[in-house]
C-alpha cells in the first residue's frame, strides 16, 4: 500500500542518517529522489508521508527498549523537516504553508494518540520531535544560514526564520495545558526550551513577543483555572514551581520583556500568586541602578529616571472598547456625565469565581479597570511631556479626577480593584511610577472621601502591605510609596481604626 511504501522510505531515511553526516551529498540526493519519485510531490503525498513518519517515530519510541536510543526516528524526522524547508524551491506552496501543513498533520496524529490512549498517553516522542526540530533549525540557521551558498536562497531563509519560530509558537498555543493536560509538562519544557525562548525574546523588532505573551498567558490561565484556595492538586503546584523558575530566568536574561508586557501578563495572573506578581513587576531595565527605596532622604521627584516614560508593548487602549471615547473625552474636558458613564460600565453581567485573599468572587471587569487605569497613566505621562509636570501633578487635573470619581462612585469591590491596578504601576523609577505614587499618596490624605475615607485608606494600606509582606522581591515603587505613607506626618497610619483596632496589623505596621 501507499502507506507501507511511505514507511519504507522513511525507514531508509532513518538508516541513511545514521551512516553518513547530514551534510553528505547522499542526503540531498535522497531527498531529491523522494521528490522525483513522487513520495512528497503533491500536498496529498506530503500529508500521507508526514502521517507515516510521525506514526513510525512515535511507534518506534513506544517499542524501543527504554535503555536504548529511543528517539532515533523522531530525530531523523525532525532533520528531514528542516532539510525540506531549506533545500526545496517553493513555488505553489510557501515555506510557511509547507511547515504549517506538516505540523497540522502532526497535530492531528497527536490528538488521536492522546484521545485514544487517555491516561497512558506518553508525551515524550512528541516533545522530542519539536525539541530536535528546534535544535536542528538552530544549526541550519546559524550565522544567518551561512552554509547556504546561493545568496538569494539565503535571504529567503533569513526572512523566513522569524516565521519559523512564530509558527512553532502557534502550534504550541494549540497544545496548551487546558487543551491537552496530558502534554502539560512537555509543553512547559518546550516554551522555555533553550532553542526557543531566548530566540523568541531576541527576534529583531520584538517579532516574537506577541506569541510569547500568548504562551505565557496560556500557562497563567491554566494555573489560574486550577488554583482553588484549599485544594490545589500537587501536579499544579509542580507546574507553579516550574513557571516561577522560568519567569525568574526571563527576569534575569530579558527583563525588558517583563517590563514592557506587565499589563498583559498580570491580566491573567491568579491574584493569590503574590510573589510571582512581584517577580514580574520588579523586573527592571538592564543596567538600571535603583536608588535605595528605604533612604529617608529620597524624594521620588528628584530621581532622574522618573522623567522617562516606560514603553508598554501592548496598548491598553485596545481593551477600553466602548469606553475609549468617554475616557478620552473626559481627559480632555472632564464632566460628571462622562465619569458616571465610566463608573457604571465597570461591572460584569454576573459573578465569576476568583481566588483572592478575602474574596472568592468578582463582579467587576478587572481587565477593564486595569486598562482604564494604565491608559490614564500613559496619557498623563504624555501630557507631562507635552506641557508641564504641574498639568498632571495636580489634584484638579482630569487624569487625577477620573480616578477619584471611580473610587467615590464605586463600591468596595471597585475601589479595591482600582487601587490594585494603580499599585501594579508602582514599579521601577519611571514616569508612570512617579505619577501613580502621587495619585496614591493624595488618595490617602484626601479629605474628599467623606464617610468613605476609612475604607479607602484601608484598601490602600492593605494593597501596599500585601506586596511587601511577602518574600522578596518587592517593587521599588511600592516600597517608596509605603515608606512615604508610614513616615507621613499628615496622617499617622498608627492612629487609623483598622490598624489600632487589630493587634496583628498594628504589630506589623509598627514593625515596618
Amino acid at each position: 500500500t501507499n502507506q507501507e511504501k511511505m514507511f519504507l522510505v522513511f525507514t531508509e531515511w532513518v538508516k541513511l542518517l545514521q551512516r553518513v553526516p547530514d551534510d553528505d551529498v547522499k542526503v540531498t540526493v535522497f531527498i531529491r529522489q523522494m521528490m522525483d519519485k513522487g513520495v512528497i510531490k503533491s500536498t496529498e503525498n506530503v500529508i500521507q508521508f508526514t502521517k507515516a513518519a510521525i506514526e513510525l517515530s512515535v511507534g518506534s519510541f513506544k517499542e524501543s527498549d527504554p535503555a536504548s536510543e529511543v528517539f532515533i526516528a523522531a530525530d531523523a524526522f525532525s532533520k528531514l523537516i528542516v532539510k525540506l524547508l531549506v533545500v526545496q524551491v517553493f513555488t505553489s506552496l510557501s515555506r510557511s504553508e509547507y511547515l504549517k501543513l506538516m505540523l497540522s498533520v502532526i497535530t492531528i496524529v497527536f490528538s488521536e494518540d492522546q484521545g485514544m490512549t487517555g491516561n497512558s498517553f506518553n508525551e515524550r516522542p512528541y516533545f522530542r520531535l519539536i525539541s530536535s526540530l528546534l535544535c536542528q533549525w538552530e544549526e541550519a540557521s546559524a550565522h544567518n544560514f551561512i552554509k547556504v551558498q546561493d545568496q538569494s536562497y539565503r535571504n529567503e531563509l533569513i526572512d523566513f526564520s522569524p516565521e519559523f519560530y512564530n509558527i512553532i509558537a502557534s502550534f504550541l498555543h494549540a497544545f496548551q495545558p487546558i487543551a491537552y493536560p496530558g502534554f502539560s509538562f512537555a509543553w512547559i519544557t518546550l516554551i522555555s526550551h533553550r532553542m526557543f525562548l531566548p530566540k523568541m525574546l531576541r527576534l529583531p523588532g520584538k517579532a516574537g513577543w506577541s506569541k510569547l505573551v500568548l504562551l505565557f498567558t496560556d500557562l497563567l490561565k491554566f494555573m489560574a483555572q486550577y488554583t482553588k484556595k484549599s485544594d490545589v492538586p500537587d501536579a499544579v503546584s509542580v507546574v507553579y514551581k516550574g513557571a516561577l523558575r522560568v519567569f525568574l530566568a526571563v527576569a534575569n536574561d530579558a527583563p525588558g520583556f517583563l517590563v514592557e508586557n506587565h499589563y498583559e501578563l498580570l491580566n491573567n495572573l491568579p491574584p493569590v500568586y503574590m510573589q510571582l506578581r512581584n517577580v514580574i513587576l520588579s523586573a527592571i531595565p538592564k543596567n538600571m541602578v535603583l536608588p535605595n527605596p528605604y533612604d529617608a532622604e529620597l524624594r521620588i521627584s528628584d530621581v532622574e529616571a522618573c522623567q522617562h516614560v516606560p514603553n508598554v508593548y501592548y496598548d491598553p487602549v485596545q481593551d477600553l472598547k466602548s469606553l475609549k471615547k468617554p475616557v478620552d473625552n473626559y481627559l480632555r474636558i472632564p464632566s460628571a456625565s462622562l465619569s458616571r458613564m465610566v463608573s457604571t460600565s465597570l461591572f460584569k453581567p454576573g459573578y465569576e469565581k476568583d481566588t483572592g485573599i478575602g474574596y472568592d468572587s468578582v463582579s467587576v471587569d478587572t481587565k477593564l479597570i486595569n486598562a482604564i487605569v494604565l491608559h490614564v497613566g500613559i496619557e498623563a505621562a504624555l501630557e507631562k511631556d507635552k506641557t508641564t509636570a504641574t498639568a498632571i501633578f495636580n489634584t484638579k487635573s482630569s487624569y487625577y479626577t477620573l480616578l477619584t470619581s471611580m473610587l467615590s462612585d464605586g463600591n468596595t469591590e471597585v475601589r479595591f480593584h482600582v487601587v490594585q491596578a494603580i499599585a501594579n504601576q508602582l514599579r521601577f523609577p519611571n514616569a508612570h511610577t512617579h505619577w501613580f505614587n502621587y495619585v496614591l499618596k493624595n488618595f490617602f490624605i484626601s479629605e474628599d472621601w467623606g464617610q468613605d475615607t476609612a475604607e479607602i485608606q484601608e484598601i490602600i494600606v492593605r494593597t501596599l502591605l500585601e506586596r511587601v509582606v511577602t518574600n522578596k522581591p518587592h517593587c521599588w515603587g511600592i516600597v517608596v510609596t509605603f515608606t512615604e505613607l508610614l513616615r507621613s506626618s499628615e496622617c499617622s497610619i498608627m492612629t487609623l481604626p483598622f490598624v489600632k483596632d487589630i493587634p496583628e496589623i498594628e504589630h506589623i505596621i509598627k514593625h515596618l
Binding site: Q136, S184, Q225
Partner: protein
C-alpha cells in the same frame, strides 16, 4: 466542511482535536478526575534534560587517525555544576554562555596539547568549538589558509634599546611534529587570513 479536512487520514484525530477547542472555550471549573489523571501522567513522563538534548544521529569517528585507549568512555561527562563563575576573569569570552557549562570550565584546565588534540580530532563538534574558544581566550588565532593556530609573543625589552618590545610568532604544527614552532623571519601577519572567533 472544507474538502481538505474530509481527508480520511484525519479521522478520528480531527474529532479529538475539535474536542480540545471545546475545553478551551469552556474550561472546566474544577479539574475533572480524568484531567487530573492526565496531568499526573504528564508529570510522571516529564521530559528531562536528556530528552531535550541536541540530537546526534551520526557519530563522527575521530577526524584524524590517532590511537586512543579503548578504556576511554564514548560519552562526554556533562555534569551540572552551579559553582559561581570566578569574577576575576576579565576576558569578554569569560562571560559568555559557555563559561558556565562544565565542559567550558574543564577546557580551561586543559593544557594546550589537549586543546589542539580536541580541535583537530573532533571536527564539527561542540567540543571542537569549545577548544577553539579556549584557545582564543588564551590568545591563539586560527589561520584559515594553513589551518594552524598562531600565537603572538610580545617580549618587553629593557629600557634604552631601540624598540620597547620584540614580537615573535609561533604556530602549532599539527601535521608533522605536533609541536609549537617558531615562525620564520619572513612571516607576515595578515589579519584577513585569520578567523574571527
Amino acid at each position: 466542511e472544507y474538502s481538505a479536512l474530509q481527508n480520511p487520514l484525519f479521522r478520528p484525530g480531527l474529532d479529538y482535536w475539535l474536542e480540545t477547542k471545546r475545553t478551551l472555550l469552556q474550561p472546566h471549573d474544577t479539574m475533572p478526575a480524568e484531567m487530573a489523571a492526565q496531568l499526573e501522567s504528564s508529570l510522571l513522563n516529564c521530559p528531562d534534560s536528556l530528552d531535550a538534548d541536541t540530537p546526534k544521529l551520526y557519530q563522527t569517528p575521530l577526524s584524524l587517525p590517532h590511537p586512543t585507549s579503548i578504556f576511554f568512555p564514548n560519552e562526554t561527562i556533562r555534569l551540572v555544576s552551579n559553582d559561581p563563575v570566578d569574577p576575576s576573569k576579565n576576558h569578554q569570552k569569560h562571560n559568555d554562555i559557555y563559561s558556565r557549562t562544565s565542559m567550558g570550565r574543564i577546557m580551561s584546565k586543559f593544557d594546550l596539547d589537549t586543546l589542539f588534540f580536541i580541535f583537530y580530532h573532533y571536527q564539527g563538534t561542540y567540543e571542537q568549538f569549545l577548544a577553539a574558544r579556549e584557545l582564543t581566550i588564551r590568545g591563539w588565532q586560527f589561520n584559515k589558509l594553513n589551518r594552524c593556530w598562531f600565537y603572538k609573543e610580545v617580549e618587553k625589552l629593557p629600557p634604552g634599546m631601540e624598540q620597547s618590545e620584540e614580537i615573535s610568532w609561533r604556530y602549532f604544527d599539527y601535521q608533522k611534529s605536533w609541536l609549537a614552532r617558531r615562525c620564520g623571519a619572513d612571516f607576515v601577519y595578515r589579519e584577513e587570513e585569520f578567523e574571527r572567533i
